[in-house]
Subunit: 489 residues, 2 copies
């Protein structure tokens, strides 16, 4: 056995353990979003913190016990990319010192619980100091990461969520999208409603409908489950994926939410599993994850051909009569507003760019948390023509991300749109009869194509080549072309 085989064996063992601990953490997170009472929360938080500390110990032990550079030098080609991914994963998770990590956990826990509470009372003043404490920690984190990697401050955070991507690629693409999106919105009709939107189902019938649609979109209930909670998200691990759907969605908005979250779930459930927990078998990036949910939501869910099938299903099987025209009209219109998660595909881009520009300045120290409300309102008027004024629930308190310490994360939502459009372009190039397939409800070929090119590839570098002609390019033309067809009046 060569030294590199031995190292690879040790690596696999440590990541198997990492997977098993992550499993427990993810279960706790799932449970927390559905079941935990306020008085039980402190104990749960400490339990998860202990599990995460043990995950860190396990990774430190791996890093200290194996000579990765030496293994890389003598590894067979097929092992090279696995080892590179291990190296990246270890550096990403261990660069921040344990004490700073603890401080981050405390700061974000506090900001998270204050956010929920203060937001309900529109109380920015009480929340702002907690967010400042988070920003302070994240700036320190960025310094550590920047020193370790030689990257710019913000790039070092972006690299956690979207490995390899840099502001230098993001900025020009976002500038282009910004000008373009403002223009499209200015020329689009105002949103209006459809009669069917006011139709209701019983809670049971609605939940049954959402569950069925999730299964139509490939959610595998033999190794996962669906629950209904406050916020939609995909939790668990590939071998036991837990989808949470929003319990009080309207039927029409909820349908796209279900389809979106099912995209995340299918990616997780179809990742490669051997060696289990290995970084090479994790999702490629946050942007790629989002591209899967957006492929499901926007490329299939909003597609006029698919809406024909959806209209028949809703009318014939779910006591919710609605025409394909109504669905098409409702799902393919711009809906300008202040709330990101209710936005149409085009306004959404502007919501994200606004947050990106603000968080970039926050990390670089160009603005402070106390400047946020004013800066937010100015950009909001510039990009959306609307201002939240003093209603912080519609402004800088609307998202939980910054409370959780997620900086460099928001851009991945737009990356997801860009990637999804690339993928759809490639899929339709090789499946030219996709439209009649969608019309008859046959969306299997799209899943098979995604499974082959994305899901089964895990974190291989080749995944990126599907989206980009060269690794450096972030080309928005497919997205723009698609959205122009859909929304330009």
């Amino acid at each position: 056995m060569t030294n590199s085989d031995e190292v690879i064996g040790r690596i696999n063992q440590h990541f198997e353990k990492d997977y098993q601990l992550r499993h427990a953490v993810r279960l706790a997170e799932w449970d927390q979003s559905l079941h935990v009472k306020a008085a039980s929360l402190a104990a749960r938080t400490q339990s998860v913190a202990t599990l995460n500390a043990l995950r860190r110990d396990n990774l430190v032990e791996l890093m200290e016990s194996c000579d990765l550079p030496a293994a890389l030098r003598c590894a067979a080609t097929r092992d090279q990319s696995c080892l590179r991914e291990v190296d990246r994963y270890l550096r990403c998770h261990l660069t921040v010192p344990a004490e700073l990590q603890d401080r981050k956990t405390r700061a974000t826990s506090r900001a998270e619980s204050l956010w929920a509470d203060c937001r309900s009372r529109n109380d920015w003043e009480s929340y702002a100091p907690a967010l400042s404490a988070v920003v302070e920690v994240i700036r320190l984190e960025a310094q550590h990461r920047a020193e370790a990697t030689g990257l710019e401050l913000y790039d070092s955070l972006l690299d956690i969520h979207e490995p390899g991507l840099r502001i230098a690629q993001l900025k020009p693409a976002f500038e282009e999208l910004k000008v373009w999106a403002i223009d499209i919105l200015a020329n689009s009709k105002p949103a209006s409603t459809v009669a069917a939107q006011r139709r209701l189902l019983t809670i049971d019938d609605k939940e049954k409908l959402f569950l069925n649609i999730s299964c139509v979109f490939g959610f595998d209930l033999t190794r996962g489950r669906i629950d209904f909670g406050e916020h939609p998200f995909c939790a668990g691990v590939p071998e036991d994926t837990r989808l949470i759907l929003k319990k009080d969605s309207s039927i029409l908005d909820g349908l796209l939410e279900v389809i979106h979250e099912t995209g995340h779930a299918c990616y997780e459930q179809n990742l490669p599993t051997s060696p289990r927990g290995h970084p090479i078998n994790l999702p490629r990036s946050v942007g790629v994850h989002e591209s899967q949910s957006l492929f499901f939501e926007n490329m299939i869910g909003r597609h006029p051909a698919f809406l024909n099938y959806l209209s028949r299903t809703l009318s014939d099987k779910h006591q919710f009569p609605i025409s394909a025209d109504e669905l098409n009209f409702y799902y393919n219109q711009t809906r300008l507003g202040l709330i990101r998660i209710e936005a149409d595909e085009i306004s959404y881009i502007l919501h994200i760019i606004l947050r990106f520009e603000l968080e970039l300045k926050l990390i670089n120290g160009e603005i402070e948390v106390s400047d946020l409300p004013e800066c937010w309102n100015i950009l909001s008027v510039d990009y959306l023509g609307l201002s939240p004024g003093n209603d912080f629930r519609l402004g800088c308190m609307q998202d939980i991300h910054w409370s959780l310490g997620l900086f460099g994360y928001f851009p991945c939502y737009v990356l997801g749109q860009v990637y999804a459009a690339h993928l759809f372009h490639q899929f339709t190039a090789t499946h030219q009869d996709y439209s009649s397939d969608f019309c008859s409800g046959n969306i299997r070929p799209a899943f098979d194509w995604l499974k082959e090119h994305i899901w089964s590839r895990g974190s291989c570098d080749e995944v990126l080549s599907v989206f980009m002609s060269s690794e450096k390019a972030l080309d928005t033309k497919f997205l723009r072309r698609l959205l122009e067809n859909r929304y330009k009046t």
Copy 2:
């Protein structure tokens, strides 16, 4: 700071960590009983095994890093019993070598899954080899424990669940109870039904009723929750207690089940919490745990005075009209049968003694697993006058305990009865108007009394003094007196 303070500090840290890991394990167990799909089970089992291995590592580290005997010598009196309990806990959890523990985990996992499957097909032949493998491991475990403690083989297992109790105390008490119980049963009327038993509620109304009764009996929903599953049990940790009630119980049988499980839950929720996870703050023993559920079920739940209140509640608030006489008749009659969990209080004693006698012989090597069906049937006829014949679901495959490796556990169910009767004797001696209290639904004084004498004491030695005149005596007279009043015709 003295050496003993330092040791105590280190001990508290390690048990805080143990609590946090146990929290994750208990959550996984709770989830597994309600939510896990068959295809997700293997990953879950591995995750829990890893958490338990980490708990062991943590305890080994504690044992190796502190000189307990030295600390005991110089500790203040108030710390002595804490340190003794730590010593016992460490010896109990670390005596079995890690390799044997792994083998036990594998053997019991296999037997557990085969048990459920084979039982549904009444297939003893396929299940028996898996149970033999468990017995083989447990015999080895008993050898290790016996060598480490100087106890007899079976005593070494009994000591895990009921610290300090020995066969020498158990056997004479069980012999006495056996003769007595057979006599009472021979002279009791055959069971009969009451008209109200056939009355139904909707699933929603039934679940609402059970939840309300659980709250009446003190379950604290602000830091716990109630779900409905296949088997009733109490999971979670004191800071987040998860009660699972059986979803397909009949109303009348279900009511006592709810009351029983709530007894377990109230004990957990009212244990002392500081220092968190310390062995001194764990439940005193399995027998004491069971005594709390049986105090709830048998001392309050079946009490004629309380049944007056229950009858009014069911009739007035829950659309389930039933008279106190009907309740009294149904709950206070013997119900001879082959299924333990459906037995009355007296037959129950015989069910347990049967299992105790068989498992004692299994551990001592006097019989083998292949002898079980015949031995079971013979004892069953002797004690209950009934035989399961070749229906193993009614005989030696009816309980899951042995599949899980639980030997020396069954006796604790009768200990629970003995202890509960002691407790009730003491409670009523100081609360002579308890009967009119129960009649008006005021059961608070009983909880307050249990809280003071049992719940808030954790694993202090003094808990046992409540049950026993001397620590060595296992006196069945209060139990016999109580049951004779209730069941003797």
